[in-house]
């Protein structure tokens, strides 16, 4: 008898050896504490950092730390796998390559970037902080590995959102001239009194599984509106456009190589491979400066109809969003549709 109780005691003491394995048994983990903001000592302004770029990807070896308030959100899906941060001197895109960044990073919150080991690069006239792209296809690659993010990107204290800076047409013109060196690009700005230019630009692939560079696989919708009255289009919306026939006369092929028939001829393959596409909707400043409002086909507002007063050209709008630059043209990235205000 004693033997048995002795043995039970031995077993119970053995059982108690690993505490960790009993944690889920009791299930009393408790809620984690509210996390405290991470801080880093900033030693470089965004303008100073951008000034280091001299035309080719810059691998940052020094202990440069920048800090700025988050001015963008990917909640609407129009900005994707990227954040823009802004300090007093300028703004820059940080290519954190995750989706749903708005869950972790809030507009107005401070963000610190330890740049050592990262790469400063240029894409179409926009400077970005990313990581090395060994293929050379782009100047930077996404910072998307968890440990890469956690060792370079630090979430600071929450704060009030940045007030957008109103940029005049003259300032915009000079920024376009200056290119990536302009402090306006990447900033949260407001452009006032734009009118619709009734022109879009979109590049569609007949079959995205095939060579995207082949002329026979490309369809450009440009120089006119092509009946596209939405900010962009999802796959379902593209099918609607195809069925409505508004694109029927558009020619397949690169400019100068329209030897592959029309949309009407290629209807079946286009319909079967319908996908979401980004669209540039063209607007004009009062002095005629063109602004392309480029929206993603994956944005939640992609299929929303643009207000008919805007489409008719009767109404002027003020736009708030991120001012971007694509190969010498002013592009404008809406954070969401709250950035579109009809003025009359």
């Amino acid at each position: 008898m004693k033997k048995i109780f002795y043995s039970i005691a031995v077993i119970l003491s053995l059982v108690a050896v690993s505490c960790e394995e009993w944690e889920p048994v009791f299930g009393n983990q408790g809620e984690p504490d509210v996390s405290t903001p991470q801080t880093q000592q900033v030693n470089t302004t965004i303008a100073q950092l951008k000034a280091l770029y001299d035309g080719k990807p810059l691998h940052i070896d020094n202990d440069l730390v920048i800090g700025g308030k988050i001015i963008s959100s990917d909640a609407s899906g129009n900005i994707y796998r990227s954040l823009y941060i802004q300090d007093e001197t300028g703004a820059i895109e940080v290519k954190i390559g995750n989706s749903g960044l708005y869950n972790d990073y809030k507009p107005g919150q401070m963000l610190y970037v330890k740049c050592q080991g990262l790469v400063l690069g240029n894409y179409g006239g926009m400077l970005q902080i990313g990581t090395d792209d060994p293929t050379g296809e782009y100047e930077t690659a996404y910072i998307d590995v968890k440990s890469l993010i956690s060792s370079h990107i630090f979430k600071g204290e929450a704060g009030s959102p940045v007030t957008p800076q109103v940029v005049s047409e003259d300032e915009l013109k000079s920024a376009i001239k200056l290119g990536y060196k302009s402090p306006y690009f990447g900033k949260l700005v407001t452009l006032n009194n734009l009118t619709y230019a009734k022109e879009i630009f979109v590049l569609i692939y007949l079959n995205s599984n095939l060579d995207k560079k082949a002329s026979s696989n490309r369809l450009f919708l440009s120089d006119q509106q092509w009946g596209v009255d939405t900010w962009a289009f999802s796959a379902n919306k593209m099918k609607e456009y195809l069925l409505s026939g508004v694109w029927n006369s558009a020619k397949i092929g690169n400019s100068g190589d329209y030897n592959y028939g029309t949309v009407e001829d290629a209807f079946k393959v286009l319909y079967e491979n319908a996908a979401a596409y980004a669209v540039s909707q063209y607007f004009k400043m009062p002095g005629g400066t063109e602004v392309q409002v480029r929206s993603s086909g994956y944005a939640k507002f992609s299929d929303q109809k643009i207000d008919s007063r805007i489409l008719s050209g009767d109404s002027r709008i003020n736009l708030t969003g991120i001012l971007t630059n694509y190969n010498g043209a002013a592009q404008f990235t809406l954070i969401d549709l709250d950035g579109v205000k009809i003025t009359n």
């Binding site: 059982v15 394995e21 944690e23 690659a141 599984n209 994956y298």
Partner: protein
């Protein structure tokens, strides 16, 4: 209960004497031979009666274990009892004054100490609806020389008898078939932890006919379950093991029948803690059994029993070899992480499904027995999992978190960033918690900072809550000593609710009940994204769900079944012939409880759903509205089966028997709808599953030798399967419905026990091999939850049954997840209440579960649409696992104290060589790398594997009084 019945054979000498003379001695001896461990009758035990050295004669026990030797003169005799699989026993019998001496229960010890088949015999893997079902097969028939050794020694590699799926094994409680009404799965977990109360059982193997029903081709086990069948006395045990849970406490008390005919039994147990191998896996499980029985003069018996196993346990998950290698651990479990510094598992099975039954037995005479059981199963069965909305995938081993997502040596993958791969590799190899485990703290951070308190991460609880009402009646009649006729009627009504609810909002205030996958496709339609459209239309907004609220999907499965069966057993000298058949009907239908925005169907007046100017009702190819809410069409099936068993016994312990059966059964509910979570649409080709099975056997049992040799053939035709997977080509939950799956199982089984010159020591061996293959080209229909249009509509899975290899040969495709060759050789020693067992096991020819998608022409063609032999081989060949050796050892001893108390221990050591590289199962992901550089082919994602645990111990201490 113990109806004493004349045996079929009596002593020849006595017979002759009876004819010649009226002065026959009136003395005799009778009794019942039972299994000492299970307290169940031993049929066919051979009794030899000797007076000194003179053999008076032999007799065999009947199906109830009873025997009667009559016409014995007064005197002292030795009664030698032998039975296959038991140690021989000799008892002294004194016959005096011409009375028939009643020996009551004569118990035999199993010659191979059957190690306790318990949860610790197999791991439990709960998988996220990826089509891979891990349901261990337990071999119940411990008296069989093959099953006895195989059940314990082969369990570590998830051996399946003859390659059959677990649902083919019929498990009954008190005469009621308990296999899950909707999936067929063996319902073992309903009484796990009640080993004592459910120990007493009767089994048949293969296509043998059971006294409890016709069954199928993979045996039938009936657990008696009544208190009168629980071993009387008090018993308490403490068990610790390293494989699943640290501690088990179990106590049982059974009171034998008192003078008023009452008997009762109670049992309770707790299983607690984690294990040595898999982090995050734990048990917090309890079990209880309460039974009371009243006997009125052995004519009427009524038993009322209720039992259940409430509890919670954490599950393990499978990962790819890349992940196991990074973690340096084939037992890595991706389901858990740290919350507030403490371990928390995201996958918890939370169940409480009590079973209650009332059993009535009526035994008006020795020739007639009738019984009826009314059994009800109800309760909750929930399984938690992470749910998230528009936020990064939180699973640590998600493929985008792995080094291979950033760099692959094959440039065609377009994964060309070795630096990023190095970052990921380092994080995994150093076991950084936020990379290698679930990051619970981050969920709280995100939810607390989410706009309006909307949880972006939540813990959902997927429910399958059953209400299962059964009636089973049977009648047994013995019109003459050579004939037993049995008939029965069974009925089942099952109503099961499938839904999910919020288990934990993880720091947020609510979760929004919308379909985020539909949102991706119909971002501008507030109607189509609703999971509960009626709520939306009534309230103008999507439902905000809190802890305990149902959301996502909610539907009932309804099933009604009825079946008549009958058997006849006829003895002609040494020849026994048993025939049996069953005939029944089965009906089932789905009933949706919520109207989903994508598939609103018709309104209550039968009109299409129109909101504003838009019609939202959609139609299938046949023009029927696609409906989420309300009842589906009812499907009717006629089920039937026929069986023949022939057995011939020869003197000297030889027995030949052969079984054959043909079965036509309805498909299971869970494999009949293309997307049961969202709509009432059936699989097009819903056929009866037709099986043909036959086996031939030879058994020998004498003088401690025991042998069974079996050859079997089974053909199973027209099975369906529905796999539910995350389908990332469409960013949606996809459903892969396969129809027309045929299998053929051909093989043999050998089990033997040979005594050695050393008393108590015997050699025990089992060997089985076979070929279990797929023999058809099934059709695949793939749908996604958020779209009415099938992605693939009944396309052939061209390479399901084989792969044409580039060298010109053809690789057959095998039924997966069980070794098709398994062998064990061991020594068993039993002496003076010591037992020692040691065995070496070998397993081979085990295969990986296949994904149907990669075996279609679509997958082998690749983006360019051109099928090449190299693509066919690469995409469709089936992985064969490496063979494995195992060494196990067991020792045990029991003692008696003052003839009143018994205590003892058993210690099992499994996998003594500590092998941790043995794959026991796994599955291919239904995913392909499609954005290749060459645009000429796809690549399969890496498969996920389960491995066998390394060295494990189990120590059981018990005390009886």
């Amino acid at each position: 209960m113990n109806i004493i019945k004349k045996s079929a054979a009596v002593l020849a000498a006595v017979l002759i004497g009876a004819v010649l003379s009226a002065q026959v001695p009136t003395g005799g001896v009778k009794g019942t031979v039972i299994n000492r461990a299970s307290r169940t009758p031993v049929e066919g035990a051979n009794l030899v009666l000797k007076a000194g050295a003179v053999e008076i004669g032999t007799i065999k026990t009947d199906a109830q274990g009873n025997f009667l030797l009559e016409s014995l003169a007064d005197g002292m005799y030795d009664l030698i009892i032998e039975a296959p699989g038991y140690l021989p026993t000799t008892v002294n019998v004194t016959v005096n004054d011409g009375y028939v001496k009643n020996m009551y229960n004569l118990s035999l010890s199993p010659s191979i100490i059957s190690n306790e088949v318990d949860d610790s015999s197999f791991g439990e893997f709960d998988l996220d609806g990826n089509g891979y079902e891990d349901t261990p097969t337990i071999l119940y028939d411990q008296n069989d020389v093959f099953n006895n050794a195989a059940s314990y020694n082969f369990s570590a590699v998830r051996f399946k008898v003859r390659g059959y799926a677990s649902e083919s094994q019929d498990v009954y409680v008190a005469g009621v078939k308990m296999n899950d009404a909707l999936t067929g799965y063996s319902p073992y977990s309903l009484w796990s932890g009640l080993n004592e109360a459910t120990r007493s059982k009767a089994s048949v193997i293969g296509s043998e006919i059971s006294p409890y029903g016709i069954g199928g081709y993979n045996g039938l086990t009936n657990i008696y379950g009544t208190p009168g069948q629980v071993r009387p006395g008090k018993r308490f045990s403490v068990l610790t093991n390293s494989a699943l849970y640290r501690l088990r406490l179990m106590g049982t008390y059974a009171a034998p029948e008192n003078d008023n005919g009452w008997s009762y039994a109670v049992s309770a147990s707790a299983r607690l803690g984690g294990n040595d191998w898999v982090q995050g896996v734990y048990y917090r499980s309890f079990a209880y059994y309460l039974g009371v029985e009243k006997n009125w003069g052995d004519v009427h018996r009524l038993a009322l029993v209720t039992f259940g196993a409430p509890g919670q346990r954490g599950a393990q998950n499978a990962s790819t070899q890349e992940v196991y290698d990074l973690m340096g651990d084939n037992m890595y479990n991706s389901n858990w992480g740290y919350q507030n510094g403490k371990m928390r598992n995201a996958r918890n099975r939370i169940t409480f499904e009590p079973i209650t039954f009332l059993k009535y037995d009526f035994t008006p005479s020795k020739e007639l027995e009738a019984s009826a059981t009314l059994l009800f199963r109800t309760g909750k069965n929930g399984y938690t999992a992470l749910d998230w909305y528009d936020a990064p995938d939180p699973r640590p081993d998600y493929y985008r978190n792995l080094p291979s997502y950033y760099y692959m040596p094959n440039e065609d993958y377009n994964r060309l960033n070795p630096q990023k791969a190095a970052w990921a590799r380092e994080a995994w190899q150093t076991h950084q918690a936020s990379t290698a485990h679930v990051d619970w703290d981050r969920f709280y951070y995100v939810n607390r900072n989410s706009e309006g308190g909307r949880s972006k991460y939540a813990l959902e609880e997927r429910h399958v809550d059953q209400n299962d009402l059964n009636l089973a009646t049977s009648l047994k009649w013995r019109p003459n000593p050579n004939t037993i006729l049995t008939a029965g009627f069974n009925a089942k009504y099952n109503k099961t609710e499938y839904y999910k609810s919020i288990n934990d909002l993880l720091g947020g205030e609510y979760f929004l009940d919308v379909d985020q996958f539909a949102e991706r496709d119909y971002s501008s339609s507030a109607i189509r994204v609703q999971n509960d459209l009626d709520y939306y239309l009534g309230h103008g907004e999507a439902r905000k769900v809190k802890v305990g609220d149902k959301y996502g999907y909610d539907y009932f499965a309804n099933l009604v079944k009825g079946e008549l069966w009958a058997t006849g057993k006829f003895a002609f000298g040494g020849l026994d012939v048993t025939v049996g058949g069953r005939l029944g009907t089965s009906t089932f239908w789905r009933e949706g409880m919520v109207r989903k925005g994508l598939f609103p169907g018709l309104d209550d007046n039968g009109q299409p759903i129109m909101i504003g100017d838009d019609i939202y009702t959609t139609y299938d190819q046949d023009g029927n509205p696609i409906t989420s809410k309300g009842p589906s069409e009812r499907k009717f099936f006629t089920t039937y089966a026929g069986k023949v068993n022939v057995a011939y016994s020869l003197a000297g312990g030889h027995r030949f028997f052969a079984n054959a059966g043909y079965f036509s059964d309805s498909p299971y509910f869970d494999k009949s709808f293309v997307a049961p979570r969202t709509r009432n649409t059936y699989i097009h080709k819903l056929d009866d599953v037709k099986s043909l099975s036959a086996d031939v056997n030879y058994m020998y049992a004498s003088n401690g030798y025991s042998l069974r040799l079996t050859g079997f053939y089974t053909n199973i035709a027209d099975q369906t399967d529905v796999m539910s997977v995350y389908y990332d080509l469409n960013n949606s939950f996809g459903n892969f419905a396969l129809s027309g799956i045929d299998e053929r199982h051909v093989g043999m089984e050998l089990g033997f026990e040979v005594p050695t010159p050393l008393s108590g020591l015997s050699v025990v061996g089992v060997f089985t091999t076979g070929e279990y293959v797929y023999t058809s080209t099934p059709l695949l229909t793939a749908t996604v939850d958020n779209s009415a249009e099938p992605i693939y509509d009944e396309i052939p899975v061209s390479y399901w049954k084989g792969t044409p290899m580039t060298d010109g040969t053809t690789q057959k495709h095998y039924v997966p997840s069980t070794p098709q060759l398994a062998a064990s050789l061991g020594l068993s020693y039993f002496y003076n209440y010591w037992f020692i067992d040691a065995d070496v096991d070998y397993f081979a020819n085990s295969y990986l579960d296949m994904s149907p998608l990669s075996r279609t022409d679509y997958a082998t063609a690749g983006p360019d649409g051109v099928i090449t032999p190299e693509e066919v081989e690469a995409m469709t060949r089936q992985e064969k696992f490496d063979p494995a050796w195992l060494v196990n050892f067991s020792v045990g001893k029991s003692w008696y104290y003052k003839r009143k108390y018994q205590y003892g221990f058993s210690l099992n050591a499994k996998n003594i060589l500590n092998k941790t590289d043995v794959k026991t199962g796994g599955f291919e992901q239904t995913r392909m790398v499609d954005n290749t550089v060459s645009k000429s082919r796809y690549y399969n994602f890496d498969p996920k594997y389960f491995y066998m645990q390394g060295f494990n111990y189990m120590l059981n201490l018990y005390f009886r009084f």
